[in-house]
Symmetry: C2
Subunit: 202 residues, 2 copies
C-alpha cells in the first residue's frame, strides 16, 4: 500500500548507518544457503530489508559483494594458521580439530558453505577456496606440499560429507569423535618424510 519513505532516512550519520553491514549479513547467509548464482541480489536486498539498488550503491557488483563478504567475514586463515604452531607430535589432532571446528562454528560455517557451494560452479570462487585450502601451510613446508594437500583433501571431504551430503555415518558422531578418528591420518600426512608412495611402512 503505502510507499516506502524516499531519500536518506533521518538520524543516521555518514559512516555508521548499519545498512551496509545488514547487507553483508544477509549476503553471507544467502550465499551460504544457495550458492553464488542462486542467491539473487534482490533476495539479499529483501532479506536485509533494503532496496536492491542499495547493493549496487555500496558494492557496485554482485561479484565484489561476494568478494567483500568472504574477505570481511573471514578469520579463517588466521585460525588455521594458528593450529600449525606448537608441538609437532600433536599437529594432526590440532589441525583436524581447528579445521573441523570451523565447520561447526555457526559464525564461520556460512562462509565456508558459501565458498564451497559457489566454488563448484564459479571458477572465481574456486580460486578463493583453493587459496584458502592451500593457505600458509605449503609455504611453511614446501617439501611436503603433497602431504599437506592430502590432509586438506581428507578434511575437506569429511566436512563435505558431514555438512552438505549429510552422510549418516558421519553426521552421527560428534565433533570430538570425528577429530580423534581422523587425527592420526592427518598427522601422518603432515609429517611423513617422503613425497610419494614409499610411506607404506606404517
Amino acid at each position: 500500500m503505502s510507499q516506502q519513505q524516499r531519500g536518506r532516512p533521518t538520524g543516521r550519520r555518514t559512516g555508521d548507518s548499519g545498512t551496509r553491514d545488514a547487507i553483508l549479513d544477509a549476503a553471507l547467509t544467502l550465499f551460504a544457503e544457495r550458492g553464488y548464482d542462486a542467491a539473487s541480489v534482490r533476495a539479499i536486498a529483501e532479506s536485509a530489508g533494503v532496496d536492491p539498488a542499495l547493493i549496487r550503491h555500496f558494492f557496485g557488483d554482485k561479484n565484489t559483494l561476494f568478494a567483500t563478504v568472504v574477505a570481511d567475514r573471514t578469520s579463517i586463515p588466521a585460525r588455521l594458521g594458528a593450529a600449525l604452531d606448537g608441538d609437532p607430535s600433536t599437529l594432526g589432532a590440532r589441525v583436524a580439530d581447528a579445521y573441523l571446528r570451523l565447520w561447526e562454528d555457526p559464525q564461520t560455517r556460512p562462509t565456508l558453505l558459501a565458498l564451497v557451494r559457489s566454488a563448484t560452479t564459479s571458477p572465481h570462487a574456486a580460486d578463493m577456496l583453493r587459496d584458502l585450502l592451500a593457505g600458509r601451510a605449503p609455504a611453511l613446508a614446501p617439501d611436503k606440499a603433497q602431504g599437506t594437500a592430502l590432509a586438506a583433501s581428507h578434511l575437506f571431504g569429511i566436512a563435505f560429507t558431514r555438512h552438505i551430503i549429510k552422510l549418516p555415518a558421519i553426521t552421527a558422531c560428534d565433533h570430538d569423535t570425528l577429530v580423534a578418528a581422523v587425527a592420526p591420518t592427518i598427522q601422518h600426512y603432515l609429517t611423513a618424510d617422503q613425497q610419494t608412495a614409499s610411506t607404506n611402512a606404517r
Copy 2:
C-alpha cells in the same frame, strides 16, 4: 535467414531417431560443466542441435531429464561394488583405484561432476549422491559403517580437490601415484576393528 524445416524430418523410423540420445549427451555434459541450475534447458537443446520444446516432449521436465541422465549413465555402483571383492589385504588399493579411476574415466566423470555440482545446491541431487556414496558397502559390513564413511569421505575429498578445485599439489601427480599415496589409509579405515578413536596404534 531461412527458417528451420518444420515437422517430422524424413528418413527416420519411429523409434530410432538419435535425437533423444543427443539430448541426453548434451545434458550430461552441461550438467557436469555447470551444475543443475546453471545448465539451462535452452542451452542443452542448442548444444544438442535441437529445439528446446523437444526436451519437454521427450522428458516433460527438467528434473526428470536430470534424473534420466544420471540413471541411464550409471554403471558406477557396479564398478565400485566389484572392487570390494577379493584379497582383503589389498582392499584399500583396489577401492582407491576403482573410485579414483571413475573420476579419470571420461565416460563416468561427467556423471559424477554433474552429481556433485548439483548436490551442493539441490537437495534432491544430494540424495542421489549420498546413495551412491553409501552404496553397497555398509550393508556388507554394518559394524564398520564409520570406517567406510571415513574412507569414502577421504576419496571424495581427493576427487573434489583434484577435479573441481584443482589443487596444484593434487593435480600434479598422476592417478597411480595418488592411489599409492592414499591406499594405506583407505585400507586402514576399511579394515580397522574399532569404531572410534582407539585405533591410534599405527
